[in-house]
Amino acid sequence: MSDREIDQQLVERAQRGDKRAFELLVAKYQRKLGRLLSRFIRDSAEVEDVAQEAFIKAYRALPSFRGESAFYTWLYRIGINTAKNYLVAMGRRAPTTTEFDSEEAESFEDGDQLRDVNTPEAELMTKQIANTVNETMLELPEELRMAITLREIEGLSYEDIATIMNCPIGTVRSRIFRARETIAERLRPLLGTSKDKRW
């Protein structure tokens, strides 16, 4: 079961009228799309507006998505076009295609280039979330911290992690879940628990 297969299943569900399946895709890709857009839109509120418009455009275009490319490649292309149109409408210079393309965006890792002009409240919330995640990570038992680090930062499979940590795959799965759940418990007061507080 690959990441692309999961996305394809969610897309097919959304194509059959399941909007909640599309919302899972929004939850999964909103920050990646935001990071992409923030490369050429400075204001974070504008980034969010453009990201929202891009998701709605993607939803409307779902019937034409045939799965020839990965969903996120397709989504990023829509995001870039939406941002270009937005910049043109605002009388600003849109990036040329040679300056930027979606394939490059997928491997973009330079956090220093991220624009951080949040409103004070949003910036505070972002910092609180980051601090909570990082502090809880430091408090995790060593085996949980290592398991989630190998998964989330190194991107290793459970099988590879099991080999490195010399334990069964089921143990890896359990450790990663417990790490996530411990951090999530700390985050919930910040995020709220009602559905309208979903990120």
Partner: protein
Amino acid sequence: MVEQERVSALMDGELDGEDLGARLKKTAEDGDLAQCWDTYHLIGDVLRGENAFSTGFASKVSLALAQEPTILAPRPPASGRVARKPYVFALSAAATIAGVAVVGWLATLNPPGAPALAPSTVATVPSEGPIKASMTAQQMDADVSDYMMAHQEYSPTGAIHGAASYVRTVSTR
């Protein structure tokens, strides 16, 4: 494994041995599981240094989506879809074999004298009366024989059509 642990493994693509579609459906429809999906993705993104959007971004998108008409797109004929369903080929092959078997079995039936329908039908047709005067009985026998010889291969004569027809031809001559 609790449901949240399944979501955790699902988002890592490591939930083997389960119906992926059913699991995604459950995650999408269950508010608590959907929230786990959101929060676990948020944690991963923060660990990778990606900025979080403001709270409420997802709900804003949800509200905007609610205004959109529901999509009911026909299933795209994705490449390889047929290949992923080998039972389609198996069913086609089984149907073909069954069809051939039925035809073959019917051909082997048909014992002599069994198809009484055709002769009796012929027998009940009212006679047109005597054959026209210009045709003698001998001429008629010869014509009928020629006709029968020419078409005997189409008449049901038992299990060995080809050989039987030749046998009768010899005996007729």
